[in-house]
């Protein structure tokens, strides 16, 4: 084995150890520093203190984040899956599908901050919705639309063609085929795509700074109200400096825990249900 081989081996092992180390470090660091802050009060109370958030809890931020995420998933997920269905099962003209793909690709290239800018100018200002969950939800929904569309389209295309063709051959309509064959068979991928898209929306700060997330608000009661959000709360706690650092660790802990658990659930669910229909 020449020196190049030795060098490559060293590189491969070294890098893998480094990457694994980084992953472990990031999670261990946040969980270690944050675990002392977590308590029932922290999870269920509103933030308080002279510097907002240095005392009290983060419940309004958790509730707000869930509202933002739910709005985004509804507004982004349904059109995304419809677009994927259209591209795979309805669209016959290549030029139309090419155009749709181009637009979706352009949108997936838009940095999230520019989407926030758009929602701020158009929804908050021009349409006078004001800063509210709906405005931010639209921005987040547009952000995750390409994300979910790509995954859904991939799932539909990976479906064995004979399943769909057999259904057509038996005289079933397209709608019936989609409801009874396509959607159930792709359920795992669709659900996991939506969950991952939701995680993506939940962690994003940039699209909601100007559009719906605020430094302090109660638990929202309608989508036309502003709300707190975990990522913005974390950012503000960090920006305020030293005295709110402890609760910042706690907030990061909660966010990472939510994302980790939903990621795991999504992965497991996708694998489970995929195995199910491959066995058939």
């Amino acid at each position: 084995m020449g020196w190049r081989g030795h060098l490559t081996r060293l590189w491969a092992y070294g890098s893998m150890v480094l990457v694994a180390g980084v992953v472990v470090f990031l999670f261990a660091f946040v969980f270690y520093e944050g675990s002392s802050v977590i308590s029932w009060e922290f999870l269920t109370q509103a933030p308080r203190g002279a510097v907002l958030g240095e005392e009290g809890g983060i419940w309004p931020a958790i509730a707000g984040s869930l509202c933002f995420t739910a709005t985004a998933v509804v507004l982004g997920g349904i059109p995304a899956i419809a677009t994927a269905l259209f591209l795979v099962f309805y669209c016959r003209r290549r030029r139309v599908s090419g155009l749709i793909r181009l637009v979706v690709q352009c949108i997936s290239g838009i940095p999230s901050i520019v989407l926030g800018l758009f929602a701020y100018s158009f929804l908050v200002r021009d349409l006078q919705w004001g800063r509210c969950i709906l405005s931010a939800g639209v921005a987040l929904g547009i952000m995750i639309l390409p994300f979910i569309e790509v995954r859904a389209e991939k799932a539909f295309r990976e479906l064995p063609v004979q399943m769909v063709r057999s259904s057509y051959a038996l005289g079933c309509s397209r709608a019936y085929t989609i409801w009874k064959i396509v959607l159930p068979a792709c359920r795992g991928e669709l659900v996991s795509g939506i969950i991952l898209g939701g995680c993506y929306a939940m962690g994003a700060t940039a699209p909601m700074i100007f559009t719906g997330a605020v430094a302090y608000a109660g638990v929202p009661s309608s989508v036309m109200e502003p709300a707190m959000a975990l990522p913005l709360h974390l950012y503000l706690l960090v920006a305020q400096g030293a005295t709110s650092m402890d609760t910042a660790y706690g907030t990061a802990f909660v966010m990472m825990a939510i994302l980790l658990v939903s990621n795991l659930l999504a992965t497991i669910y996708a694998r489970r249900s995929q195995r199910k229909w491959k066995r058939v």
Binding site: G2, G5, H6, L7, T8, W11, A12, Y13, S15, M16, V19, V23, L26, F29, I78, P79, A82, T83, L85, F86, Y90, L99, I100, V103, Q105, S108, G109, I110, P111, S112, I113, V114, L117, F118, S121, R125, L145, S173, R174, A175, Y176, W179, L196, G203, A204, T205, A206, I209, F210, P231, L232, L234, Y235, V238, A252, M255, M256, L259, L260, N263
Partner: protein, 288 residues
């Protein structure tokens, strides 16, 4: 299912698709529309190449030059790319050539965990860990381009690792059995055959990763220092996305400042679209 329901369903799919595509197209139109008034005040050349950014006239004339921001955005992305490639490619080699099928099925989701961490958490950790290290090492205030580059590199790792290891795996299936039959050691094969063979695909995933890096806002903004300076490795700077995030809240609606921020966003968008479309063209050429 009745025929009428059938029609309703199909109509719903058509309608929702049209809605989605029109909404997306409208976003693009709106951004361009809001950006264009900038160029009635500032010439395109001044905007792209000017180094002074004075959006409000407190202390003299306003100026709208985003050259430093563009440079910083590209600089940070390239630094992040180089760092991520140095480590990510190594890890990809490990995953594709050392770890077996089982190892991969555990390690892929493990590395993918990095993709799930929100960028504001990256920024936070960067601030309390990286910036402190740089401060101790003698960098003023600790915020610098390199810190942002390292953070971004970690954020890029999951994409780069999975893309690279996939293309190396493909090359491995093609070449390794023959090479091993000839008695060449596995690592020599990796270094001299597999890497050169998958180089083109690795290049593609690099470009894609650079695109991701350029649009990143929060993590970069929190550790780069945010000063309008030409980027140097250990100096402060400010990326396009950071300028927008920091100044949009205070920009007067319909002022040149406001439109200039949109124009900055448009420049960022154009850079990304060029990269994305370029990849599409490149991929068709490389893979055929």
């Amino acid at each position: 299912m009745g025929r009428r329901l059938d029609h309703v369903w199909s109509a719903a799919v058509y309608l929702l698709t049209a809605l989605a595509v029109l909404a997306l197209a409208f976003v693009l139109y709106f951004i361009v529309h809001e950006a264009l008034p900038t160029f009635q005040e500032v010439s395109l050349a001044d905007f792209l190449l000017g180094q002074r950014w004075m959006p409000v006239d407190y202390t003299g004339e306003t100026a709208f030059g985003i050259f430093n921001f563009i440079a910083a955005t590209l600089y940070v992305s390239v630094v992040a790319m180089v760092l991520a490639l140095a480590v990510g490619l190594g890890a990809a080699i490990f995953l594709s050539c050392v770890a077996g099928e089982r190892g991969r099925s555990i390690l892929y989701p493990f590395v993918d965990l990095l993709a799930g961490i929100p960028s504001v958490v990256y920024g936070f950790i960067g601030l309390v860990v990286l910036v402190k290290i740089f401060l101790r090492a003698g960098v003023h205030t600790g915020s610098c381009v390199l810190a942002a580059g390292i953070l971004l590199a970690i954020m890029l790792l999951p994409y780069l690792v999975s893309a690279c290891s996939e293309s190396i795996l493909r090359a491995r299936e093609q070449y390794l059995p023959a090479a091993e039959a000839m008695g060449i050691s596995r690592w020599h094969v990796v270094a001299t055959i597999l890497l050169p063979a998958s180089w083109k695909n690795i290049l593609l995933s690099m470009v894609l990763a650079i695109g991701r890096a350029m649009g990143e806002t929060m993590a970069v903004m929190m550790v780069i220092g945010n000063a309008n300076l030409f980027p140097t490795l250990l100096g402060k700077s400010e990326s396009i996305a950071a300028v927008i995030a920091l100044e949009m809240g205070t920009a007067v609606v319909d002022s040149t400042h406001y439109h200039a921020l949109y124009a900055a966003g448009l420049v960022l968008l154009m850079l990304l679209v060029i990269i994305n479309v370029g990849i599409g063209v490149l991929r068709e050429k490389v893979l055929r």
